[in-house]
Symmetry: C2
Subunit: 222 residues, 2 copies
DNA sequence: GTCTATAAGGAGATAGAC
DNA sequence: GTCTATCTCCTTATAGAC
């Protein structure tokens, strides 16, 4: 059996699994759904991936590995372009948002599954899943936090961290259910138009970052 | 059997179900887990709620109904206080964020389940679940959008809608997994401190809203 | 490497006694 | 209203032929 055929077989399984996990979640998707979608035998999946958990792990690693790399590469590229000066908040935000949003511009068939899975995974408190991502996330977060601190040296560190969390949250929300957004806004917002989304997010969040520390209102929560 | 006992029985089931659904998701939580947590017989749940889906519906309605009411009430209160003038962006944000964040300040035992369930539900693309929330969400969104348009009359409507989606997304993220945030920020961010979170969010997002339309950068996404 | 067949158990839901 | 017992189906996973 040639190597190309093997790889295509595994890729088919990963594609089907990605779609199924994105649609129904880890527990909701069954191995039988997945093998039906991939057009392979049930035992084949266990031969290649060992277990349902192993399959999920492979699905996540295939996507989040390259994404992490791209995140770090784009940021480094902007740092090179800045030639020693701190990178602007706008550029940092672009580096945070562009790699994931680019997935929204992927071919239609795969697009929805990839992004929904990503958005979903971020808010899925399942311990095993979280652990798979922890290492990658920490590294990316640390890199962006460092860039933000250099760019906004006067801002308290905790404020920057909070704001970064808000950005990740908004991003996850967009990725997770673009359809809902389109429906709830009666078509005014079209999440598939990635460059528009990027522009909106950068404009919105950069203003927020630049205002850090300006107004600190306190409200009692009772 | 006195009415009080009945209610307490149903409430116990709802509490256990809320925790289970928040922990493991709809598909991951089993009816047997739930009855174990509630200390009741399996058949009791079917007697009161008919099916697993009916139980989920009841869980959601118990929380989202009052939340919707509170959202609208707080906004109306601020509108009264503004005496005909538009409500400030800061106040609108407070009205959006305070009711859900207040749940973070609830008694520790229930707190986590309620907020995680809410955060999770928002990003759960399950069709049935989404439908349960659609009506409530539309009404709340419309009310806040109207207030925002009155407060920022020069801003393009689509921009305001995008920005509102970002706020909901960030909120869902905080509610969903406060623990992850605490861990990933090495304790710098403490999501349980609701008034701090509110202040951070209002400060961040109000600056973003006020900057609407100022800078519209366009980046090619390729 | 790929298949069939099946093990072993958990799921949602219900019938019917009390 | 509450319980026991059970039905039926589907789940993950594996053993073993080819």
């Amino acid at each position: 059996m040639p190597k190309r055929a093997k790889e295509s077989r595994q890729a088919k399984i990963l594609d089907a699994a990605e779609t199924a996990f994105a649609d129904d979640g880890y527990n909701g998707a069954s191995m039988r759904d997945i093998v039906r979608g991939a057009g392979v035998n049930l035992a084949t999946v266990y031969y290649y991936f060992g277990s349902k958990n192993g399959l999920m792990e492979a699905v996540l690693k295939r996507r989040f590995g390259p994404l992490r790399q791209e995140h770090l590469e784009v940021l480094r590229q902007f740092e090179r372009e800045a030639k020693g000066r701190p990178v602007s908040v706008e550029k940092i935000l672009e580096a945070m948002l562009l790699p994931p949003l680019r997935l929204l511009a992927a071919p239609a068939a795969k697009r929805q599954a990839v992004t929904r899975l990503m958005g979903r995974i971020v808010t899925e408190p399942d311990a095993q899943t979280q652990e798979i991502l922890h290492g990658q996330r920490s590294e990316v977060r640390a890199a962006f936090l460092k860039a933000l601190r250099a760019s906004l040296p006067k801002a308290p560190a905790a404020d920057l961290q909070w704001r970064m969390e808000f950005v990740w949250g908004a991003l996850a929300f967009i990725l997770c259910n673009p359809r809902t957004i389109e429906v709830e806004t009666h078509g005014a917002c079209n999440p598939v138009d990635a460059s528009k989304v990027l522009a909106e997010m950068v404009g919105f969040f950069s203003a927020g970052f630049r205002a850090v520390g300006i107004s600190t209102l306190m409200v009692s929560v009772t």
